[in-house]
């Protein structure tokens, strides 16, 4: 075979293989979404949002799990935003180039993709075992530990994008560095910071593993943060592995809800991010 033909054929095979890979990947993902929608949409009724979880064989919804998820993710995000934005600000504006700064950044990156179940173990040892009880607070802290690295990372990246001229202009008026950061730089980076928060929120709203031994779960509606609390992911886990058909159906509904929530948060974050870049 002459050289030119050989090159063309190799290239053709390669292009075909890449296309095939894309086809396989997309098929698998579409199949998953398809099952999720077909099995979940049927059970999506009003009582899912208004009634708490049923005993096997009776009617009920996921209200207690939804409320629990919102409460714990909410508290977790508050903690993560405070710590993450401050830490990201430190990396971008103050100590990012010091040795300590490099260590913090590296460990933040590691924490960013550390197995979430280990964070659950840590919070169990920290907040559950010493106080002899599972609690929603513990769950929220575990979620916060997972979201903080994301917020820190995006905060640092976004602040680094702000032009130095803006900092100099603020300082040239005699403002302190802290004041310039709070009243100018954070303002200029506002949408970026919100995006970081949304990304973190999307990540933790579907987390199951760290909640298993912190907030545990609760079959009743509960809004006391010092007690065990249900959450969508742990309830799905429990229902899906149960032997009851109606629980399994509810698990699909819950999975669909989580997927929709995570997708919409991510989409909003993307739209915001695009507007910042414009």
């Amino acid at each position: 075979m002459d050289r030119a033909l050989f090159r063309r054929v190799t290239n053709g095979i390669f292009v075909g293989a890449c296309g095939l890979a894309t086809l396989i990947a997309l098929t698998a993902l579409v199949l998953i979404l398809w099952s999720l929608i077909t099995k979940g949409i049927g059970g999506l009724e009003l009582k899912v949002f208004t009634e708490s979880q049923p005993a096997p064989g009776s009617e009920g919804g996921l209200a207690n799990a939804i409320v629990g998820s919102i409460l714990m993710c909410g508290l977790g995000m508050v903690i993560a935003l405070v710590v993450g934005i401050l830490a990201g600000t430190w990396l971008a504006e103050y100590g990012g180039q010091t040795t300590y700064g490099h260590v913090v950044r590296f460990l933040n990156d590691v924490l960013l993709s550390a197995p979430s179940i280990l964070v659950g173990l840590f919070v169990y040892e920290l907040l559950v075992a010493p106080f002899h009880g599972f609690s929603a607070y513990a769950g929220a802290v575990a979620l916060a530990i997972l979201a903080t690295p994301i917020v820190t990372r995006t905060t640092e990246d976004i602040l680094a994008l702000q032009p130095n001229a803006l900092r100099e202009a603020g300082m040239a008026l005699g403002a302190s560095r802290a004041f310039v950061i709070r009243s100018i730089i954070w303002k200029a980076a506002r949408t970026g910071l919100v995006t970081g928060g949304l990304l973190g929120f999307a990540r933790i709203s579907g987390e199951t593993a760290p909640l298993l031994f912190t907030s545990l779960g609760n079959q009743f509606m509960n809004t006391h943060m010092s007690q065990p609390m249900a959450s969508l992911p742990t309830t799905i886990f429990q229902f899906a592995l149960s032997a009851y058909d109606d629980w399994q159906r509810l698990a699909w509904v819950g999975a669909l809800l989580i997927a929709i929530a995570v997708l919409s948060i991510n989409i909003i974050g993307r739209i915001l991010a695009r507007e910042t870049h414009r």
Partner: protein
Amino acid sequence: MNDVSIAAPTQAEEQYMVAPARENLVIEARKLDFFYGKNQSLYGVDLPVERNKITALIGPSGCGKSTLLRALNRIYDLYPGQHAVGRIVLDGNDMLTDRKSLQRLRDRNSTGATVDEEPQASRAGSDLTQLRARVGMVFQKPTPFPMSIYDNVAFGVKLYHRKSKSEMDAIVERSLRRAALWDEVKDKLNKSGLGLSGGQQQRLCVARGIAVEPEVLLLDEPASALDPISTAKLEETLMELKRDFTIVIVTHNLQQAARISDYTGFMFLGKMIEFGPTEDLFSNPRAQRTRDYVTGRFG
């Protein structure tokens, strides 16, 4: 009128200074060295600035004119590793008198390369916010803050004074008028400053700078990002402003320096080659390098 004194050329390069009378100076750099880390970019620069005049700094790019300007209000302090050695005197007070700067000056004196009297440590040299309140700065690219036009102008004032709403309104209006921007923005004071045109944004930055009533206003190539009409308007504004303020402007546009400035300093490779009244410097340059530059033979 001027107390004429011609300094002897230092080191290899010839250097000609025609400085204004000392009692008329508002800010002055004396024997200033500047370092970016280990790289020295200013060598024993003198810059006397007379009150209520416009002083222009010219020279080929990389000659250190922006560096000198940025040293005058110590904006370089933002970046670790950058430092100045020498003296910056504002109204008779030394501004480089924090402990580190004094130590550097002492070190330099001990090597004997450039010897200068050592100022006393003083609060003036370590209170940078006060220094910057008295020496304002406008940058090459417009830097409106992400807030309304009104808040942009009020930003600096709020740092130093508690003002009632009506007092603040008056200050904002006066500053915008003085920056020749009032008529264009008076109906949209609550709109974002980012929505203005480039020339308007730059005049907004001038208004923001003068709202705190500094003694000196530093401008770093303020017209380089502007179109000719905006540039003309900005120049006009500066000519007006010199009645109340002292202005130091870095420019790479020789015509601009000739048009608006009273004194001009020509810098080359980190040294002040020639400094004097603008007319003299352009019509009768003493140094060969200045002559080459202003007649367009290099740079």
